[in-house]
Symmetry: C2
Subunit: 193 residues, 2 copies
DNA sequence: ATTATCTATAGATCTATAGATAATGC
DNA sequence: ATTATCTATAGATCTATAGATAATGC
């Protein structure tokens, strides 16, 4: 206890990172502050030295979770390949079994959509911004003459990615779950290739 | 108090219906039993005369919410028009502002996806079944030679509908929200028409 | 007599706060 | 001396249960 300011920053980031993982996994209401602090190797009493309220942690955790997913997508997108090939890589990664099952580290645009819709302005703004980033990235990669058409196709493609992963996680029929991911991927690649 | 068995059934349905609305709106963890019972004009003590546990109510509420959405979709789908026109009606209804804003009565395949993924087997089975129903309906309406191709296109279309509404609800930029709905609808109608 | 619902409450858990403690940094 | 974290606890809320009450239905 009573460590340096640098230590406090590390603690702060540890709390936010833990929350970003657990909130994606169990939902924003699925875990309490005491358990989060414990997982961050702190006691619950210290929480309010880092945040004014639970809401503030939710906002920071949503920002962190969205950044996570954004970085994972950017990593795939940086592959030195033609746009169409990069697009295929992105679609396959997003609609992979690893992403479906890796809730804690996956894209928060899907896993936190419902929670964010009910959340505070800061969380919603972060979400809005990340959707904008994904749309710009996709629009650049999509083969189409007009910019307006690329934008519309990017929106439909992102919606397909988000919806397919949402449903693939909710159904309890493994065969159907895989079919949802596979067919959505095939259709997207056929449409945008 | 102490009414007939018929009255009890009515109370039961009132509780489930209330939960189906509030769970879609606020999430499964967003409202407690006491408030739900109060909204159903009952006191919280009576809850366990109707359900063995909260989980059981969640299962029944998910079933009820999915049925709701299914009936609304079936109503639109029963329009006496050619398949392509019915498909356009469905897409426009699902991606309407009314559906985006009508969480309490809207399609639970979108609004409860994340909650159901974390929920019990009964809730997940009901969700799985409803996804199956939507896919069969869409596959019938889609113009394509082969059955396998229609099925894959139905999956991509349903995913697009679910993802677009999810994101349109989460962003806090009204213009972007409307663009998401409009572009997804336009693309779907262009692809499937 | 049976039973659907009510009042009252137990026990757990949640957010938030107060004050103590043990490090850091002047 | 300052401060990051700890222990302890207040007060609200949550699920679940026990026993009382007031209807229904024989």
């Amino acid at each position: 206890m009573g460590h340096s300011k640098a230590e406090k920053d590390k603690s702060h980031r540890r709390i936010v990172k833990t929350a970003a993982a657990r909130f994606r996994e169990r939902g924003v209401d699925g875990i309490g502050l005491a358990d989060l602090m414990k997982e961050a190797d702190l006691t619950h009493g210290g929480f309010y030295g880092h945040f004014d309220s639970r809401e503030e942690l939710v906002a920071e955790a949503v920002e962190c979770a969205l950044r996570d997913g954004g970085e994972a997508v950017a990593a795939v997108a940086s592959a030195k390949q033609p746009p169409a090939a990069v697009l295929r890589l992105l679609v396959d990664a997003y609609l992979s079994l690893a992403h479906r099952d890796g809730l804690a580290t996956g894209c928060a645009v899907t896993s936190m959509a419902n929670d964010v819709a009910r959340s505070n302005a800061r969380a919603r703004s972060a979400y809005t911004k990340q959707v904008g980033i994904y749309l710009e990235l996709l629009a650049k990669l999509i083969a189409a003459d007009k910019r307006k058409s690329r934008r519309a196709k990017a929106i439909a493609a992102l919606a397909t990615l988000v919806g397919a992963v949402s449903m693939a996680r909710a159904v309890n029929d493994e065969k159907l779950s895989r079919e949802l991911l596979k067919s959505a991927a095939d259709e997207l690649k056929a449409q945008l290739g």
